[in-house]
Structure formats: C-alpha cells, structure tokens
Symmetry: C2
Subunit: 279 residues, 2 copies
C-alpha cells in the first residue's frame, strides 16, 4: 500500500516517524477518517472543514489541509481503491525535542495519509443491530476536537470488545453522550434525540447528515440528551459514523432496546443514507 | 546521542517508529521521567513501580520494565551523563493496523528510552519562585495513569508559556488540583496541603518524597485540596516534580502568594530534598 508522509508517496512498510514527533510523545495532533464509496471520497469537504477547525483549536499553523484532497485522490487511484474504502488523515504539530510547550519557532506539521479498501460490517449489524455496553465517560472536556489523544476511547472500546459488543456508550451525569467512535441517536416519546453539539461530543459529519435527513423526512428531532434512567423507554437506538453509517443498537448491557431489532425510524434513515452515499 | 529503541542502541537521529505504532495513532502508552544526579538515576525503583502500575492499568503485557534499569545505566554511561540529567522512558502497546480495540493476539510493546544531560532551571526559580497561571482542568478522569495522552497538559502549559509563567495550575470544582507537569503543595493555616492521591492527579514520586520529608521534619501536613477562593490566604505555594524538584510559586495570575517569595516551609523542604538527591 502506498501512503503519504510529509510530502512523499512511499510504501506503508517504509512509513516511519521520528521518536520526537509530538504525535508520539504528546498526542499533539488531530485526525480524520473519510469514507470512500465506489472509489470516491464521500463528504470530503466537511471533513476538511473539521480538520481545519481542529488545527486552529490546537494552534497548529500551516496550510497543510489545502492539498489533502489531491493527496487523497492520488492515494485512492494509486492503491486501486475503486469500491468501498477509507481515507485516514493525521496531522501532528511536528518534530521537536521533548518539552510540553509548543516548539518556538514553530516546526512543520507532520502529515500522514492513507487510503485503503474497507470491508463493510456484516449485514446483520445493519439489519438487526449490534450490542453495546455503557461505560463512564472518562474523557477530557474538549471532545469536540478530533484529537489523537484517544486512550480513553481505546479503553472503552476494548471494554465493549471484551463483552462481545460492538460499541461502548459513554454515560456522563446520568445521560448517554456518544460512542467511543460513533455518535448516538435514540427515539424517545416519538422524537429523535442526540446529544447537543458542544465540547462533550465529537460533532460527527454523519451525525450532521442524519439530522439533515431527519428534517427532510419530517422526522421530529431535537438535540437533547437521552437520560440513562429512561433507557427502558427508548423506542430505537442507533449509532452514526463514517464507517458505522447508521447502525441500530439492539441491546445495551442487559437491556433490550425497543423491539430488540431495527426500528422504523432507523430504517428510513438508513435508506436515506444509502441513497446519499451510494446514489 | 545514543538512545534505546526496541532492544537496539542507536543514534537518536535514526530512532524512527512505524506510523502504525499505537503511541502515534492512539496515545496508547505510558512514560516516565527519571532524574539523574551526579550520573546516577535518582529514585529509579519508585518510577519503575509506577510504570509497572500504568502498564497494568492499560493491560499492556510483557516484562518490558525488568531490563529498563540496565538500559538506563548503559545510556547514562554511553552518553557520558556524569552530572545532572534525565532519563525518559516510553512504552506503547506496539505496532498494529489501526483499530481502537487492542490487537488480538497482542503485539510486542514498543520501548523507547533516552538519557541526556539536564540543564537545571535558573537559581532564581528556586530562590524567589516562579509565576503560574490558573486554568480549568480539562483532562480525563484517569490522571493517575501517566499516559502519553498529554494534549490537555500541552495546551495548559502553552497557556502558561504564553503568559510568561512557568506552570499552569489546574482548577477543578473550585479547588487547585496540580500543575500541567508537576504536583502542587500549599501552606494554609499553618498546614502543608496537597491534593489527595486519587484518579484526578498523577501521584508524583517527588510528591511522595515531599510528604515523607515533611513527616520527618515535623511539618504538619495533610492530603487535602486548596480551595481556589482561599488563594489570598495561602502562605506558601510550591511545585514538586522530577525536574521541578521543590520550586516556590510566587504568583498565580495576578495574585501574589504569601510574601511573594520563597517561604520557610518551602526552604526547609528544598534543603531536605537537596540532601536526598545530591547527598
């Protein structure tokens, strides 16, 4: 596989970074995962906007993101990703002797990009739903930045994995927040709910699309949290994300959600998503 | 400079890690900084115990830490660090294709170690004290793990740096917690206070030593938080840490602390520290 690293197209096996990269020492960087359908990047522009916002939040300077669309297209072509795939983009503050404060003067950011085929999750996941576990939200309070400081997400996701579940759902102050690598939607009292866009969640590109599709379909929706103590009243629950798409959750811990399978609102949104993504 | 990377002693300029290292992609690892005085590692054993605890908390398997004392000694020798210095040790979960859950089967952890001379901070810092800024504590709730997910610490430290201050002090729920790379002590109503050892702080090796020295010196001490709204009543304030040692804080934001210089409790603890460290 050819990957892009700091201006060069090289084989993945040769893609190495210095130990002094601040991504390695401090998790000082951001990333994006973009979906490829039929060999074409899906929603590249919103992903680039979010990347730009993340770089600005971390005060990482440089016009690194300007060329990334071209880089992604070349990697898709060179690696023959003509079906489903993903693009991964990571930008860190760059390489400098280890100290917490930013290097002064600033150094060039490190940019790493790959594009590769993505094997879609099994049909069952989308048709009947997946299991999830609830976990305490241990993360920092700037989850709106898509940073590579993902250790809490890793630990939560591993907890799901160990329990044979697909996703871990963060619970904070008595409400469901989002998944370890997806956003969360639920239908409660007939209204589609998702946690408000703020510093406690990563505002997903697919999440925004789901809200947009719900509006178009006339599905009543609100950005409001789902209280954990009302989990037994939740009629439908689903995850949204770049690789997760719109994925029903049939069970959380030992609770069966709604009818224990995909519900009607989820189905309609899946169909709308499929139309957008696959045309 | 010779460094150690995964079993090899190589020049620092050649020390590269694959982009798939989970330290680079997920901040999935821990680290230690150990002080060298007169060419000898100081308090190596407690640092190794903490490293072991961190690896256990992250379920990173392997007896990586057993040989680290030997590795450190060789690096000190080979790099001629015969005065003051630091040893840096970082262990990540290893190299694996990017997915959140742990690689299964497990891969070998990546181990990176360097030892180099450390230029002591200016005498003024220790004699009259440094400035600090207060910042909201944005970090995750497992600060007891010395993880490389240091982005919040970086941002806080940079805020201090920008303000011309030495350290940023995290404030959470109305109390002072600790610094971005040091622990915090204060004297209030004649008692030495420091935030209790729990999941909200990194329990520093120097912090433990300070508490031990206070006991020996008969200084009344308690593990209790310093309320932010009592900052004007604080008689002395100091940082503790591996490179910070025992460093007075003369000012926080626009508040002068105590007499605006090093206080008597800080002085006694500095003297006791110096005796332990430099004999």
């Amino acid at each position: 596989m050819q990957v892009y690293l700091n201006g060069r197209y090289i084989d993945h096996s040769e893609a190495m970074i210095p130990v002094d990269d601040r991504g390695f020492l401090f998790a000082d960087g951001v990333y994006e995962v973009v979906r490829i359908y039929g060999g074409r990047a899906f929603l590249m522009q919103p992903h680039m906007r979010r990347l730009r916002a993340g770089l600005a939040a971390l005060h990482i300077e440089g016009d690194v993101e300007d060329s990334l669309t071209d880089v992604a297209e070349r990697l898709i072509r060179d690696n023959g990703v003509d079906g489903d795939g993903t693009i991964y983009i990571q930008v860190t503050r760059g390489v400098a002797p280890r100290r917490h404060a930013f290097p002064d003067p600033a150094v060039s950011p490190s940019v790493y990009v790959f594009a590769k085929p993505f094997k879609q999750y099994p049909d069952d996941y989308f048709n009947t739903g997946v299991a999830a576990v609830s976990v305490p939200d241990t993360r920092w309070t700037r989850c709106d930045i898509k940073s590579i400081a993902l250790l809490p997400n890793v630990l939560a996701n591993q907890q799901a994995h160990r329990a044979g579940a697909f996703e871990a759902l963060f619970v904070k102050d008595g409400v469901l927040i989002e998944g370890s690598h997806s956003n969360l939607f639920g239908v409660l009292d007939g209204t589609l709910l998702t946690y408000p866009s703020c510093n406690y969640i990563l505002s997903g590109i697919t999440r925004t699309l789901v809200l947009e599709m719900a509006r178009e379909l006339g599905i009543p929706a609100a950005e409001a949290p789902i209280p954990w103590d009302r989990i037994d009243d939740v009629e439908e629950l689903f995850l949204s994300g770049t690789t997760t798409e719109v994925m029903p959750v049939a069970r959380v811990d030992d609770r069966v959600i709604g009818g224990g399978t995909r519900g009607p609102v989820t189905t309609r949104l899946q169909q709308a998503y499929s139309k957008r993504a696959r045309g």
